[in-house]
Assembly symmetry: C2
Homo-oligomer: 615 residues x 2
């Protein structure tokens, strides 16, 4: 607890600079004020509301958070229990938490910091529910910082990581707020007629989440890169065992990174850092383009309430394609990064478990990314739904309008001929094999759902595979296209391009090999091709990339103080630093304990008391 | 730090009872004194040494630890740098750490607690090295508990978990110890002649590690079962979303455990808890039998120094088979348990990340098991070495002497006919398919190494796969045999046996499906069989096991206070407990902070000060 309060304090000192926040790499109490709270006020508030709330928030006169998740409700936003009942008499909304499970939960910055919240609550007018909407609610006194009357608010307690963030809970007992506190840019209640005013287009509302997910994809590359940097540097320094085949004359131990069993764990992750980075960049570009298009015809589309854009515009709208891609890629990219960090930690052997490795806390802080902004498993359903819709469109003979319908159409066209991809010889064929597998799994899902009428629930596992397959295709395609693009080829010298190309092949072939059974089944490859990819090509690529490995992680350019890792030091002084931290910086070593179980005394001597009293 | 000191103190109170220690499920400072220190003194000491050290240790007059790992040397015991130089003049050994990397590191209980250590050091006589041997060395004063002269000892600092254990470092500057401090049951230095006395049999020395690894296998089942219990109970309570296919009349949300995507993650792990438990039991039985046999002919075998028993007795010795099995299974079982716990945590959704889930800290404390007692990747080489040796013996036409050589012989005998296993229809065939895959991969490895003379390093990835395949075969076989054995069939009623049989099939078919590409390649199954196993059989088994899931985890019988989890409560009062812990037990909620960044004050009010001053 003490440590946490210190960090909270530390966060405040850095407050003025967002960049500094990014660099200290720890979630601070103002993170959500600056992101979700300000953005929601800005995007969903009217000019009047901007004046009333946004201005103050920007000046830190009010500190806010975004309260959506409830104790009993995570991904299912429509199931939220908190209510906002319109009271026509005094033109107010009554915010109320009918059950314990309606308690807002996990709300970042709410635990100790925020005095305002954007609360997502079910709008009820005249006894009729109109779904969740955002309301601005004050929760603590601006002077005393005590909770307001009928507001029960507090911190939810320790977590596996992320303990520098004060996640909170929040319950309301019939709290009244004025009409103006419902954020009314998209939908509102007319106080004169007591009628609900519908939003113009659902697409605009969904846009923000698509952006957030695309950003997670972009980040996942550099998140993983930290772990890969530490593990690669350490494994290049650390020596263990002699090579069994080495001649007696070479008595030294071998650098761990020279072992193929270490290479096969780390180097594909090194390739993945670049693959994810290029994919994230591609997504952000794609997003910017879509936004332009949408704003051209926002008023034309009359969105069907209750369905996401993947239902309403499939096959004809680039936003739907982007939305599905952002769901699938967020899921895949954050899984690769989280699991990859743990692989990096273990590749550091015993010392990976020490806090001085710098990987453990980083991993623990990153883990919730696999659950928030859409649970990675839940999101796969959105991708499957979009692909099913696209398959229906293609089956009906509609013309392809984007890449997804394009690859489905091509697959159908070759259904009487089968595929023949030269996955090891030609890069285009390697990408095409991934597309083929996606298309095969899409039409399998189509068959099960639309023709055999299987239950949705019985297909969830297939949908998850489908989403993963599609997302892997997108990563491989994005990586490939980034290498072809003139901006890449112009910026890099010949040798760098060659190494990057090897990383591309390693990433693609290693992924293909891991998912080989789907590639066989779809007929995209032969069994022989996979065996060759595994035993020859991948092993050869590892050997070729090995000499460049340290230079490649250095290109991510993390400064030592940011990595905060004995093992990942740029100068390789691993053991000196580990020893320094353990022996000299470790406050425990100024304490002498009494070791005998009969003794009732805990300490013989405790020189750290001076240190503690300073806290 | 404060928390840790409390726990250390807490550990002492519980000291008198090992069972209590097991129940609190946290590593305490005496854990290694009681296990590694006492066992090493007992097994490797002479009667004279027992009187001198063991007696005192048993009475806690001296507190010890086992100091093997060094800063620069983990798995490679032969590479240890600490030296013990025989000094004939005064009949002493001089213990010395020549470099920083020679510092003992990670030594449990050494950080603050121990005053004695068994130190593994390179024995040097007359300038000649004789490999690592165990020496008893006092490191701290028995009264003041201060480090002795020329001993630099301390705690290595915080870790990812396991912070209730005081892992330490230890350096020696030419410390003299008497001749009697070299543990001399197996090997010794004759003080009269200054000659080294060799051990009788290497097998005896290796026995302890085999036992330790078998015990890890047995434990892994119950370690995983804790996570599976919490996740299964919570997912049976938690409701999210409506089933897409449900009729409008059924408005309630569906229990998360009814979703196939959740079942496919949790139920195979539930099956794994039983599979690992039965396998561990089988290993312990097998170990007891081998020990009997060995003690019959310990003097007959003259072990070749420098090689493990897997080299010297392959094919003819049950200990070699057991040693290889213990290496492979330790690696597989601890990986399944560690990764399974993380799957359980994520299956709990957002709340899995809360400390109140009870899974996070348990997972973090378990993680080092994948590295210690042999890194999981390193161990696979031992298995491969043993299987290669067995393959050579079979190729030479030698008669099979154990199960391993038996399955290799059967594979060769059918090499002109191929296999035809009815994996879905017959359980024996399912087990046989796993054996076939092991044999196929063994002879592939034999071909690469012995015929094509490939470099050992280039085959490490293949060896890892081989070890995994062999270990999975052993788990499937042990599970199958446990279900057939009369002790199981007599103890359980018909219905329980039926459910356990379904768990066996789920575990085996799910594993087979995940490793499907090796099953295709070996010709053990057809592609069609795997598709059927996945889309029909496994999905059907999930549905059949679902109604028994909660009863099955209840059979592990963890009391609530041991699970220490809001989510895994037996009575299902998940949300009440989460709320109680966050709102009432959370000391942070008695603190009121000052939220504004300009303010230099951190707290408005802090009622927790009373609480803190008590510590």
């Amino acid at each position: 607890k003490r440590l946490r309060q210190l960090k909270v304090q530390h966060g405040w000192d850095q407050e003025d600079s967002i960049v500094a926040n990014d660099l200290i790499s720890e979630p601070g109490p103002y993170g959500l004020h600056e992101s979700m709270f300000l953005i929601t006020l800005r995007d969903q508030g009217t000019p009047e509301q901007h004046k009333l709330f946004l201005k103050k928030a920007e000046n830190y006169q009010i500190i806010g958070c975004y309260a959506q998740t409830e104790l009993g409700h995570g991904s299912n936003v429509r199931g939220l229990e908190t209510t906002a009942t319109w009271s026509p008499e005094d033109r107010t909304f009554i915010i109320h938490s009918p059950h314990l499970t309606a308690s807002k939960w996990w709300i970042g910055s709410l635990g100790r910091t925020a005095n305002y919240a954007v609360v997502m609550a079910q709008l009820i007018i005249g006894g009729k529910p109109f779904g969740p909407h955002p309301f601005v609610v004050q929760v603590r006194d601006l002077k005393t910082h005590e909770p307001l009357e009928n507001v029960h608010v507090g911190d939810i307690g320790p977590k596996f990581g992320y303990n520098t963030m004060d996640n909170g809970f929040l319950l309301f007992n019939h709290v009244k707020i004025p009409h103006v506190n419902m954020l009314a840019r998209f939908s509102s209640v007319d106080p004169a007629t007591n009628k609900y005013v519908r939003p113009m287009s659902a697409s605009l509302v969904y846009g923000t989440l698509t952006w957030v997910r695309s950003h997670i994809v972009l980040q996942s590359g550099s998140v993983l890169a930290r772990g890969v940097t530490i593990a690669t540097r350490y494994c290049a320094i650390r020596r263990q065992f002699q090579d069994r085949d080495a001649p007696q004359s070479e008595k030294g131990e071998t650098a761990v990174l020279n072992y193929t069993m270490v290479q096969v764990r780390l180097l594909p992750l090194l390739a993945a850092t670049f693959a994810l980075h290029f994919t994230g960049q591609g997504m952000m570009r794609f997003y910017a383009e879509s936004q332009k298009k949408i704003h051209g015809n926002a008023n034309a589309a009359s969105a069907d309430r209750g369905a996401g854009p993947e239902e309403t515009h499939a096959g004809s709208d680039s936003l739907a394609d982007l939305h599905a891609a952002s769901c699938g890629l967020k899921s895949l990219a954050s899984s690769i990064a989280a699991e990859g960090l743990e692989v990096c930690r273990r590749a550091c052997g015993g010392h990976g478990y020490s806090s001085f490795s710098g990987i453990g806390p980083w991993y623990a802080d990153y883990l919730p990314t696999t659950t928030w902004e859409g649970d990675n498993y839940m999101l796969s359903q959105q991708v499957a739904r979009y692909l099913l819709k696209s398959a229906r469109s293609v089956k009906k003979g509609e013309k392809p309008t984007n890449d997804t319908t394009q690859i489905l159409t091509e697959f159908l066209a070759r259904s009487d001929m089968g595929a023949a991809f030269d996955i090891i010889g030609k890069d285009e064929d390697l990408v095409a094999a991934f597309a083929w597998r996606t298309a095969y799994l899409t039409f399998e899902a189509y068959k099960h759902r639309d023709e055999e009428k299987k239950a949705w629930n019985d297909l969830l596992v297939d949908f998850y595979r489908l989403s993963k397959a599609h997302s892997q295709y997108l990563v491989v395609k994005n990586f490939y296209e980034a290498l072809q693009s003139s901006s890449t080829t112009d910026a890099l010298d010949e040798e760098t391009r060659t190494v990057l190309h090897k990383l591309f092949r390693l990433f693609a072939l290693n992924t293909l090999e891991q998912e080989s059974s789907e590639f066989y089944q779809s007929g995209a490859t032969t069994v022989r091709q996979i065996i060759l990819a595994r035993t020859n090509t991948v092993m050869k690529l590892l050997k070729e990339i090995r000499p460049h490995a340290v230079r490649l992680v250095d290109s991510w350019d993390f400064p030592d103080w940011q990595l905060d890792s004995s093992l990942g030091r740029y100068d390789g002084k691993v053991y000196e630093d580990l020893f320094h931290r353990a022996s000299e910086l470790n406050p425990l070593n100024s304490i002498t304990v009494d070791p005998y179980p009969e003794s009732s005394v805990l300490f013989k001597k405790d020189e750290s008391r001076d240190f503690k009293s300073k806290l």
